[in-house]
Amino acid sequence: MITRTEATAGVAAAVRASRATGIGPVALASSMLIVVAAFAVMMGASTIPPLTTLAIILDRLPFMTLAVDAPVGWQRIVLEVRLPRVLTAGLAGAALAYSGATYQGVFRNPLADPFLLGVASGAALGAAIAIMTPLDAGPYGFGWVPLFAFGGAALAVVIAYSAAHVGLARSNTSLILAGVAVSSVAGAVTSFIMLNGGERVLAIFAFLFGSFNTANWERAVLAIPYLAVGTAVIAIHGRLLNVLQLDEEQAAQLGVNVARTKLVLLAAASLVAATAVAMAGVIGFVGLVVPHLVRLLFGVDYRRVLPLSALIGASFLIGADVLSRTLLRPQEVPVGIVTAVIGGPFFLYVMRTRRIGGGL
């Protein structure tokens, strides 16, 4: 039996260890994000000189008037296609990694990702239904597909969470199993819809791989309030996530209402993940691997893991999207494929060079 003081001392030691590196990591990750985002705005299917791109953007800032000598097409490409695309990719990457870190923290399970309780399969089913109904008017602006995807994701999580009630408690295992069950039912119905979908199957397929090809300002701006609320709730609970890393009994001894904390954290993380999926479709890997990467590199204090996951997740997905639109240009490669193909080997490399197997 570990006493309360020993437990607190353990947490404190872990926190001290990762504090030793100072504020550095956050500053580092932020500067990396700025560099990656700037690079991403310069790159694209068409070749616009980087300085022209810069001039087009600077020209739009208040109090700046540059005589930009560029075709109208270039201006529109930079301002209406690339900027919202980079912003959307960054928001989605940050959201997925942030909610992934939360899920892993709550479940204390290295295989947890933001789709564990059915967010992805619920969203995919919602999207498939919206695509098959006469409501769908394509993936631009405010559309029914993101709305239905969001609703499907929320519904899946609520069903999984309610179904996981075994006796009085919801154990992590019963939550995970309920999530798996809900996911497979939703996945099966989606497959059935696709088999009978005729020519609209392509649109459902596209959702299942994720894409930023139709990103636009309206949808990015619309997503921000949801992301802000969800991340704020999680950020407030950052300290409690550290405590949850102990045995649940010990956490309870430390005065934490474990059941309530888990519910709040999972609801907020699911909100964030559902918003990301509604914006961009199902993009795997980011939410699973980025939090691991952060812990491997910067330690386990959730008050640091959370912001670092968001920053690195944003950089990672913006970078993956650059590849997705330039590898085969003028053709697109679905971004979900890029994240897995590039991210998998990279993660294995980091894991080997760091020589850390356990402790996740």
């Binding site: 529109r76 006469p134 631009y140 602006g141 596209a206 090809n213 139709t214 053709q331």
Partner: protein, 257 residues
């Protein structure tokens, strides 16, 4: 003779050569001519062999999507003719001749082929002086999938001398970057998703950045019925004529009056 046709294109051919009375069962996507509506249906993807047997067919026509099931159907002692989905206008014409001799409608098939050749010939003759046609984006879905020149649709566009902006694509049906389409600046956009995804001049014009595209500015955005254009059957002639008129209005003014 009782035929099961598992391809919408082959169904159309059979009816067009007067062999419609021999068609007993069609796949779920066969919807033309209207008289097929009363026929029993089978699945297009993964048709059930037992259901096929129950219709005691003399001939089952299968196409690319059912390729892996040909042996299964033959093992059940059904006569299967496997016809790969046509990838060019010439191949469609060949298939019409072949189905004509199988159903003993040779004369009708020959007449259909002659009329198709003649109508296509008229279009091509009219475009003889065209050296390079307009730049064209052929839209299959609103997330910007299109058809490369290697596809059936692409071959019709090549026939019409247009510059397909998907020329450099590496797959048959590539998804183009929105940015790449704006940069390629197509002069005409053909919308084959006008019905299926409700795309129109207005929805295309409202996409971010697309105001810079010549076709959007001049409103040369033309809906195409995918069941006519994408289906290798007799109606490809209609698609060719419709696209020709949309792409080269100045060459077809005389007939429009």
């Amino acid at each position: 003779m009782r035929i099961i046709s598992l391809s919408p294109g082959l169904t159309e051919i059979l009816f067009a050569i007067g062999a419609g009375d021999r068609v007993a069962v069609v796949d779920r996507f066969s919807d033309y001519p209207a008289s097929v509506a009363s026929l029993p249906r089978m699945e297009y993807t993964q048709p059930n062999p037992e259901a096929a047997l129950a219709h005691s067919p003399d001939l089952v026509l299968m196409t690319t999507r059912q390729r892996t099931q040909v042996k299964q159907f033959r093992d059940l002692k059904m006569t299967v003719l496997y016809i790969e989905e046509a990838q060019s206008v010439d191949r469609v014409i060949e298939v019409i001749g072949m189905l004509g001799s199988i159903t003993e409608r040779d004369a009708e098939a020959r007449a259909l082929v002659a009329s198709m050749r003649q109508r296509i010939g008229t279009v091509i003759a009219r475009l003889e002086s065209v050296r390079t046609g307009p730049r064209v984006f052929y839209e299959i879905s609103p997330d910007l999938y299109t058809a490369s020149p290697e596809t059936f649709i692409g071959s019709m566009l090549t026939l019409l001398k247009v510059q397909n902006i998907a020329l450099d694509a590496r797959t048959a049906f590539p998804q183009l970057s929105s940015e790449a389409i704006i940069a390629a600046n197509p002069e005409v956009i053909l919308l084959s998703d006008a019905i299926s995804a409700k795309q129109s001049v207005e929805t295309v014009a409202s996409r971010p950045g697309w105001q810079a595209i010549a076709a959007v500015q001049s409103k040369r955005i033309v809906p195409i019925d995918p069941n006519v254009a994408n289906r290798p059957g007799p109606r490809i002639v209609e698609a060719i004529e419709l696209m020709a008129r949309a792409l080269y209005p100045e060459y077809f003014l005389a007939t429009a009056r």
